[in-house]
Structures are given as structure tokens and as C-alpha cells.
Symmetry: C2
Subunit: 237 residues, 2 copies
């Protein structure tokens, strides 16, 4: 833990996908192609619904990430077409998966500057769930790696996982701020621990990550429009 | 780091797949079914060769693990049949992948006792590569988790990765012994760091993991028949 100029201790955790860089739009784009491929068999809403059902069912086995998404698309295509989908079409789906895995990492506006600035005064952690291989590769391609004291790639982000990360790095919850786009994964479990959390919404939220905030006021909860509002929040904490 | 009864410091790293529990035979079993499925299109040796070529090509994108293996089987099936493979057959391959992911974790002989005994005197680390989700799930199902002070799931096991792990936990290479079945991943990079390594071969080695030992004698290299020979080695180090 570092002390800032005013002697305060603060560690800041960042989510990665859709907080530091674009991610969900890549899934949305691929899902658009998937809809087109299956258009002869059903309408878009129905295809989306079936794919989401397959993904949800497979989460317990596949976890998060592009490989699991690709397998879920393949499975859904076979189910929806009663097995009539051909090998070539499925080959296309595999190819979409591979091209998602190598698609460029595009940082969100303000991220590069804000992360570099905060790294000078605070201990920064990257806390992301998903596929280890894919997340490490994206972090490497993002060029942001050097700013983070610790990188934690975890299978899911719930209260117990956050508690274990904070304990491991000896960070009291009162000295921790989490920043992310998912109410479900980045905000609610962190607030339950007594830490603070800043929500920066992304344009698209995967259905699985949506969650409602309680209607009562939440201690330690902050809503920001975009990443460049973060330094001002941190300065006033 | 702990000191043992004689005041020595020693940290012992364990590989997981095919060192603590059976793994490769599950792949071999599935690959057998894959060969049968594609038998109308080519002979077994040719199918194996094509699958291995696809896996190798995909490693840089998919990493290690069952999901990547499943996608590689699908891709190979489509290629080998010129796209003639049907949706139902591909659905079977997806199903094999899912059933691999939930198949029981079977410990190798002696592992449970040896790991529990050594954990009383030494700091044990689990150092495994592969899919985060799958490896965490296997560790949980193995019942061995409580014996390890640290669990490191990494994207690959080379000299730099081992050096980073030892540095993070402040373990000098001279106080470290790695135990595993892969010459390529568990032995050679560890010896290069000046640490020690004990090789316990598994019945089957995936082609990708084979590597020859140098012909000259290697400092710090030990070959063991099975896990239950480990405590005696540790005691004489």
C-alpha cells in the first residue's frame, strides 16, 4: 500500500472488460453474425434468447470468455436447426471465435491517462474474471500492465473472492475503491464488504451482468459518467 | 517459508495434471472416440496427426485446456471431412467436451498421503498451467486445496514464469524443488533457474509436452518412479 501526498492509504481496483477496454461490443458484433447465419431458422429475438439460455446453462462448466461463448454458439446452432446446420457453417463460428481472440484491444476514452496518473499515487489492482489466457493476452496488448501492482484473474467476482483478494494484499476494505461497469460483479459485492465502489456504465451490458441497485441510498457508492471523472472522485475520498 | 525440523527452508512446487491427478488419459479416451467418429474419412494415425496439427496451431489463441481441445476437435472434423460432417456429429463433440469438464478428479497413487505429510513441514505451492476455470474446479474437487499455501494457475510454465512466482513469494531458487511429470514444463525451466526438480513420469505424455533431457548430468535433477518416493528425496536434500 502506498500513501498519497496527504498521507491517505488507498488501493484502487479496476475491472478490465468494458471498464478499461471495449469488450461487449465484440460479442454483440459476433452475435449479430450468428443471428444472420441462423436467420433461415428463426427470428432474431428467439435466436438471442436461445443463445442466452445455452450460455447461462454452460457457465457452470465453461466459465466466462470467448472459448465458452464460441462453444455455446455452436451448440445453439445445432439445437435450433435440429442438427441440420452444416460443417461449413460451424467452421465459420469457430473462425469468429478465433478472430475475437486476436481482435485489437481498444482502450476506452481517458483510460490511458487516468490509469497512469493514479498509478503514481495509489496502489492499483486489476481484478477481472474470465478466461486466464485471454485476459492475460488482452492486458499485454493493452500496454497498461506496468501500472498495476497486482493482477487478479478470478473465476467469478463475488463477495468471498473480493474478501480473499483484499486479505491477501493486506488492504482493509475501508481503504479500497473498486471501479467497474458491472453492478453485479464490480459494485454490489464490494459495497457489502464495506469498501467503496465507482460505477462507470458501458454502452452495452450483457444480460447476465445486469443487476438492480437497492432503492435505499448506498454508503460508498459513486456513479461516474466516464473514466476521466475518476481522479476528481479519488481526490475527494 | 517454513523451516523443517532440521531448520532447513524448502518450498515444494507441484504440477497438477498427471502429477497429482489423472488427466491425459481423459484426453486420450476422448481422442479415441474422435477417431471412431472420423473413421469413415481416414485412418487413425492420420486423424491423430491432423488433430495435433490443429491443436498446435491453436495453442497461441486458445491456450491449454478442454475448451480449446474441444474447439480443435471440431475444427479438425470439419477440415478432414471437407465440411461434410453433420451438426449432430459436432454436437457429440461438444458433449464430449462438457463431459470431460465434469469428469471426476482421480488422484494418483500416494498423492493424498504424500501431499498431506509434506504440507506439515514445508511450504507447498501448486503451479499449473491451463484453463483457470477448469483448474480451479479440479483443485476444489480433488480435496487437496488446503495443503497448498499458494496456488498459481499460469498460461504457460517457462523460466520467466517460474522466476516471477519465486520472486513474488520470496523463495530463493536454491530453496525450491519442483515436482512434475513434464520435462518441458516442470523440469527444464526450473533447473535453468538453479532450483531443483523431481520428474515423476506419467503413463501417457502429450506430444507437445515431450522434451529430451540434455545428455550431460544435470545438477538438481531427480527422477522418481512414483509419488511415494518423494518424501525420501525431500528428506535427503
Amino acid at each position: 500500500m502506498m500513501q498519497d501526498r496527504e498521507g491517505r492509504m488507498l488501493a484502487i481496483g479496476f475491472d478490465a472488460d468494458d471498464t478499461l477496454w471495449h469488450n461487449e461490443r465484440l460479442y454483440a458484433l459476433t452475435q449479430g453474425k450468428f443471428r444472420e447465419l441462423l436467420a433461415p431458422y428463426g427470428d432474431a429475438a428467439w435466436i438471442d434468447q436461445q443463445l442466452y439460455a445455452t450460455e447461462t446453462r454452460n457457465l457452470a462448466h465453461f466459465g466466462y470468455g470467448i472459448k465458452g461463448f464460441t462453444l455455446s454458439m455452436i451448440e445453439t446452432a445445432i439445437e435450433l436447426t435440429g442438427g441440420r446446420i452444416g460443417g461449413r457453417e460451424i467452421g465459420q463460428i469457430v473462425e469468429w471465435g478465433r478472430s475475437m481472440l486476436v481482435s485489437p484491444v481498444e482502450l476506452l476514452p481517458g483510460v490511458e491517462e487516468v490509469v497512469a496518473t493514479l498509478a503514481q499515487e495509489y496502489a492499483l489492482l486489476l481484478i477481472t474474471k474470465g478466461d486466464l489466457f485471454d485476459q492475460e493476452s488482452k492486458l499485454a496488448r493493452s500496454g497498461l500492465g506496468g501500472n498495476f501492482q497486482h493482477v487478479e484473474i478470478v473465476r467469478d467476482k463475488d463477495e468471498a473472492v473480493y474478501a480473499a483478494i483484499l486479505a491477501k494484499h493486506k488492504i482493509p476494505p475501508s481503504d479500497f475503491l473498486m471501479v467497474g461497469n458491472s453492478i453485479r460483479s464490480d459494485i454490489l459485492p464490494v459495497l457489502k464488504l464495506g469498501a467503496r465502489a465507482a460505477h462507470i456504465p458501458y454502452a452495452i451490458t450483457w444480460q447476465h451482468e445486469t443487476a438492480a441497485l437497492p432503492e435505499t441510498a448506498l454508503d460508498g457508492y459513486f456513479q461516474l459518467e466516464a473514466m476521466d471523472a475518476l481522479p476528481a472522485l479519488v481526490a475527494q475520498l
